[in-house]
Symmetry: C2
Subunit: 310 residues, 2 copies
């Protein structure tokens, strides 16, 4: 194993600590931490400067104002998220929340995306367990599409779209991967990818930043359990996960270009995508995905997997 | 090199010939052809049966009615598209047109997608040069988005959106890769991927099936030239290309679920995507792409590339 800047003891090889869970009194940028947040050394976006929105003929241009952080999940190089004790995953979730709520205060940041690339095929450039955070100065396309579908549904029915999906799925049970009453993991109907998973709280909640201690504990338990199931069934597959939460809820409710704080426009959830198939010409040309594994089969395999725990 | 079902002499190892360019009188499913079309042995969609559209609670389900063909570009295993003589590429383009126009007659087929995966990373499972065709019973999402953007532009301005882009790009020259007066290749403004290319006729045309002999010859020349440039600059990269043309133009003009024959709703074009970067969590979560190569640089490299021809 080569040198790793994320390992305990190498704190001086990363940009300075933004936040960490560490014993009271232990100095920043030294050892002893459990979860540690630093700026990405090669950031996709930077906080300096103004957006400078301009037109270029019929096109639009703006500067890449935003932020790109690395959330180091554990001091140990060889301990992946599903290997961590539940209480450690709970601390990681608290760090997700802390970063989200801290960055919300900057009104230039319209969306705060938390995601993880695990394995080289899934885009991970460093093996040490880490999650990434990128905050963008615009609401991402994919989020805007989900928001407007959910809003349209709410306007028509005065019910949350995601709550309706969760209700239908928990009644039919066919695509349920995990369900402890508090959180539910589903192999989505018409999944794009084999073993794709949708994980969400059963109780309606639009902003991940608002999670109670109890909600955080439940999410840690569900996430860890589902990742253990994936690891057993697919033999430690590369995967991406992406947290979908409401856009920066400290901004006022705007509509079209998309911020909103209205609680029923969204229901936070996590998407987990194992990277087993290749995206090729058909997918790029259509936006459709050919999935050889029916979600009903994927759900059954995952539901019946033995996670090595009671 | 192992056995290849697409090589000349192995015609009995593929499903029967659907169409071929071969000398008059030479029997189907024997040697002597230049370009040969067969059904895909492992099709994504099949023509048998009905769509049987049904609701499943709040979801929708239908059967996979459609067709999946393989267009074998040359009898020779080691001769890729940019190696073929111009006249041969012209014949390949004629075959694209023939298949498109033939399948249009089936009103269940709403869209006919022609695309190529080159290289394992780009999703090619067989090395022998081939293009694929998948006809779908619905208008693909991506196509519908392009159509509605183009239509909105036309309604406002009575001008084709793509014609406007081409005009702006040919005036500025900054992102021009190739321009022979008849066809133009552009590194798109805010390209998603390094060295992504948009190739289109300068003269407005919505349906690739309507190409004249002269248009076909020009497209063959432009396509071959651009692929030679990519090969030189990026050392034979894996790539996908996807033809974007109007939905089945034999159907009447419908609006929202999307067929249309109205000529100004679309301008056919080819998208070429070299597969140099990985799509990871950020891209899945946002629909945004981080591109380390500005299109202005990509265009300059490609423009100045020596294709080994006059």
């Amino acid at each position: 194993m080569g040198f790793c800047p994320f390992c305990e003891g190498n704190e001086d090889k990363t940009p300075p600590e933004i936040y960490a869970i560490r014993p009271p009194g232990s100095p920043a940028d030294g050892p002893g931490w459990t979860v540690r947040v630093v700026a990405n050394k090669f950031p996709a976006l930077r906080l300096e400067g103004d957006l400078d929105r301009t037109g270029v003929g019929m096109f639009d241009r703006m500067n890449g104002v935003g932020t790109h952080e690395v959330l180091i999940e554990t001091p140990r190089h060889d301990q992946n998220l599903p290997d961590l004790p539940e209480a450690h995953v709970e601390q990681l979730i608290e760090v997700y929340q802390q970063r989200l709520n801290d960055l919300k205060r900057d009104p230039r940041l319209r969306y705060i995306l938390i995601f993880k690339n695990y394995g080289v095929t899934a885009g991970a450039s460093l093996a040490h367990p880490h999650t990434q955070l990128i905050a963008t100065p615009v609401t991402p396309q994919i989020v805007a599409q989900e928001l407007s579908a959910a809003r349209e549904h709410y306007v028509q029915k005065e019910r949350c779209l995601f709550c309706d999906v969760i209700r239908q799925e928990t009644e039919s049970r066919e695509r349920i991967v995990y369900d402890d009453g508090q959180y539910v993991a589903i192999a989505p109907f018409a999944s794009r990818f084999p073993f794709e998973i949708f994980l969400a709280p059963r109780k309606h909640a639009h902003d991940f930043g608002d999670l109670s201690k109890e909600d955080g504990r439940g999410f840690a338990r569900a996430l860890r359990d589902v990742l253990r199931r994936l690891r057993v069934i697919l033999q430690d597959p590369p995967y991406n996960f992406v947290l979908h939460t409401a856009p920066n809820t400290s901004l006022g409710p705007r509509r079209e270009g998309y911020w909103t704080t209205l609680p029923y426009d969204f229901h936070w959830h996590l998407e987990i995508i194992p990277r087993l198939t290749r995206v090729a010409g058909f997918e790029w040309g259509t936006g459709f995905y050919i999935n050889p594994t029916p979600p009903e089969d994927a759900a059954r395999f995952l539901r019946e997997a033995s996670t090595g725990e009671a």
